[in-house]
């Protein structure tokens, strides 16, 4: 049954092509690489500064934004550790706009009001060319720190993002993002924030 495909493999195109030394890797330090890195740093700053409306300006209208579940499996079954039936996020441009609307306009999005103090530390960026000269595949690691109220311990979540980033009218936009979190049981009360 598809819907219980716990055995849905990590779709090959989503990981394999990111193999090192593949033909389409754009060198670290190349123009495209640097622009993508800048895009990701600025995106993090907008999200951490709660400038959500500005953040959405960097989203493509055909955006696909997902966060699969993770499942603990044996070494020999690693292709089963990423679950893409049920997910933590399964969003489109419209649904993201809806979420941003709730957070910024309702004055009753309590899960983030008062807001968390967050920091999205972006590292290990790798960029690949795609068949479309105006689109790039970007792999980036993120360490998310999140602190609420008077908590003396910071919540920490690490993850990798597989993005498709598109150049539109000289400006980069996020067209696709898959977020692979490094926990099977999340250690935070919700994902009321964007990753």
């Amino acid at each position: 049954m598809e819907t219980v495909q716990q055995s849905a493999p990590v779709a090959a195109p989503q990981v394999e092509p990111r193999a090192p030394f593949r033909p389409h890797r754009l060198p670290v330090g190349s123009d495209a690489y640097n622009r993508v890195a800048e895009f990701l740093y600025e995106e993090a700053l907008l999200l951490d500064d709660l400038r959500l409306a500005e953040w959405t300006e960097g989203l493509a209208e055909d955006l696909v934004y997902t966060a699969p579940l993770r499942q603990t499996r044996h070494f020999s079954e690693q292709h089963l550790t990423v679950i893409r039936s049920v997910k933590h996020f399964d969003e489109t441009y419209d649904s993201i706009m809806g979420r941003v609307g709730r957070l910024t306009k309702t004055n009753s999005a309590w899960a983030e009001d008062p807001p968390s103090r967050t920091r999205r530390l972006v590292t290990n960026i790798l960029v690949d060319a795609t068949d479309n000269p105006n689109e790039f595949d970007a792999t980036s690691y993120v360490l998310l720190t999140r602190n609420r109220f008077e908590e003396s311990e910071m919540m920490v979540l690490s993850l990798v993002r597989y993005d498709r980033i598109r150049l539109v009218d000289g400006r980069l936009k996020l067209a696709k993002r898959e977020i692979i979190v490094d926990q099977s049981v999340l250690g935070m009360p919700n994902l009321a924030i964007f990753l």
């Binding site: 819907t3 250690g187 919700n190």
Partner: protein
């Protein structure tokens, strides 16, 4: 050892000191007391039926998944005979965890520590180096298997209990069976899980979520106020949706709001059950399935299903049942059923386990739509429930203060209306604006189990 008589805490407090039956109050202390947690593990989570998952999560023989019954971890397996087994994930040899993964398929569960092997039904097969009989001769092999819990597959829902001699599952549901059958036993295919559950942890006592699941409709008005901003949810005024019928028994409960008001435009009022069913099949159900419903449900159940279907509530102690339907731009209504198990992880921590379900026999497209709606509204990133999961930890935290712990949770909004004369269902029936009765009944069940002589 288990306390055999109504227990008291080391400072002399008795359970009866914590819950005030006359004024319908519960001391906040119950949300943060390690001793009470220990007692709850023995008197509730080792005694009642607990929800563990959905049959289609382990469709094939050998399939297994690891779940929790309170602080205990269990392996839910399907054995060669197709039966569902629930086994304590503790090796009878030295207590090692037998399954170290979350799910998989295997004909033999072999403990990685010393190699004792067990069948999916828990039977002990043997230990390595057969001729050395490393399991000894003091106990027969029959006593060296994995500890088995008592299992009931209700519709497609898997429940289990450690209370082997206790009440049957039907007795456990009691009068509420009438209502749950309308959701879980109405179709031949039954509900299926759309995938494994989401899992995340909050620093809150499990009861903060448990008591809310007993039909706390009132909090929607304020905690989920934002819903009012979205016309598509009712007419924008959430208050109207606070009216309806609430039913309760054995600590379980469901809210059954009238459908009519939600769909005035359809002018359902003067239609017959038959017509209503055709006009607006219960969300998540297709016209094709209606014959099944008619066959499986009584006319009373059918009538309620179209007029006041059970929508949200809980099964004591820690299962929340949420059925939400969202009218779409195209006029159709997408519904999704979600089940939450609030699994205790010590007195100050709870694991929110969230399944999304749909009727097996609807189209894949419909399932995907349901799932997407569900993910966006409920669970991890759910715009409704993210507010709940951020609220509960505050209650537990407050319960740790020397004054805070003496404060009480109050259930003093008492229903003062008689049940609708035409209400066909059993159980305690509360009419009108949502009140606190169902939640209070939840606490009464808690009190009964916590002060029972076992």
């Amino acid at each position: 050892m288990l306390t055999k008589t109504p227990p008291s805490l080391s400072d002399g407090t008795r359970i009866d000191d914590l819950i005030h039956l006359q004024t319908r109050e519960v001391q906040l202390r119950v949300l943060a007391d390690p001793e009470l947690h220990r007692l709850e593990m023995d008197r509730i989570f080792s005694q009642t039926w607990l929800f563990l998952g959905v049959a289609n999560e382990i469709p094939n023989p050998g399939d297994f998944m690891v779940r929790s019954m309170g602080d205990d971890q269990v392996i839910v397996t399907r054995s060669r005979d197709g039966e569902v087994n629930v086994l304590l994930n503790v090796c009878p040899h030295r207590g090692m965890r037998v399954c170290t993964t979350e799910a998989g398929n295997t004909p033999v569960h072999k403990c990685i520590y010393h190699g004792w092997a067990f069948r999916p039904n828990g039977d002990f097969i043997g230990s390595p180096v057969e001729k050395e009989q490393m399991h000894g001769h003091i106990l027969p092999k029959s006593e060296l298997g994995l500890r088995r819990a008592r299992v009931k597959v209700y519709g497609t829902l898997i429940f289990a209990t450690w209370n082997l001699e206790g009440p049957s599952f039907d007795d456990f549901l009691g009068d509420m069976k009438f209502y749950y059958d309308m959701l879980f036993c109405r179709s031949d295919g039954g509900l299926e899980a759309l995938g494994p559950p989401q899992k995340f942890t909050l620093h809150a006592n499990w009861k903060t979520a448990g008591e809310q699941s007993a039909c706390d409709g009132f909090h929607t008005l304020t905690l989920h106020r934002w819903l009012g901003d979205f016309a598509k949810f009712g007419d924008g005024d959430l208050t109207t949706s606070m009216y309806g019928t609430e039913v309760s028994a054995n600590g379980h409960s469901m809210r059954c709001p009238p459908v009519a008001q939600k769909f005035k435009k359809l002018g359902l009022e003067d239609k017959s059950i038959e017509e209503k069913l055709e006009l607006l099949p219960p969300p998540g159900v297709t016209k094709e399935m209606l014959p099944e419903l008619k066959r499986r449900l009584s006319s009373e159940q059918l009538r309620l299903l179209v007029e006041s279907p059970p929508q949200v509530g809980g099964i004591f102690p820690n299962l929340m049942v949420a059925f939400i339907y969202v009218p779409q731009p195209d006029g159709t209504v997408v519904g999704v059923t979600s089940l939450h198990a609030y699994v205790p992880r010590g007195p100050d921590k709870v694991e929110f386990t969230n399944w999304f379900l749909a009727e097996r026999d609807v189209s894949l497209e419909m399932k995907q739509k349901s799932l997407q709606i569900g993910i966006r509204m409920l669970g991890t990133s759910g715009q409704i429930e993210q507010d709940d999961s951020d609220t509960w930890p505050h209650m537990s935290r407050n319960a740790r203060g020397p004054q805070g712990r003496l404060s009480t949770m109050k259930y003093q909004a008492v229903c003062n209306q008689p049940p609708r004369p035409d209400w066909p269902g059993p159980g305690h029936v509360y009419e009108g604006f949502t009140k606190d009765d169902t939640q209070w009944n939840w606490w009464l069940k808690w009190h009964e189990l916590m002060s029972a002589t076992i």
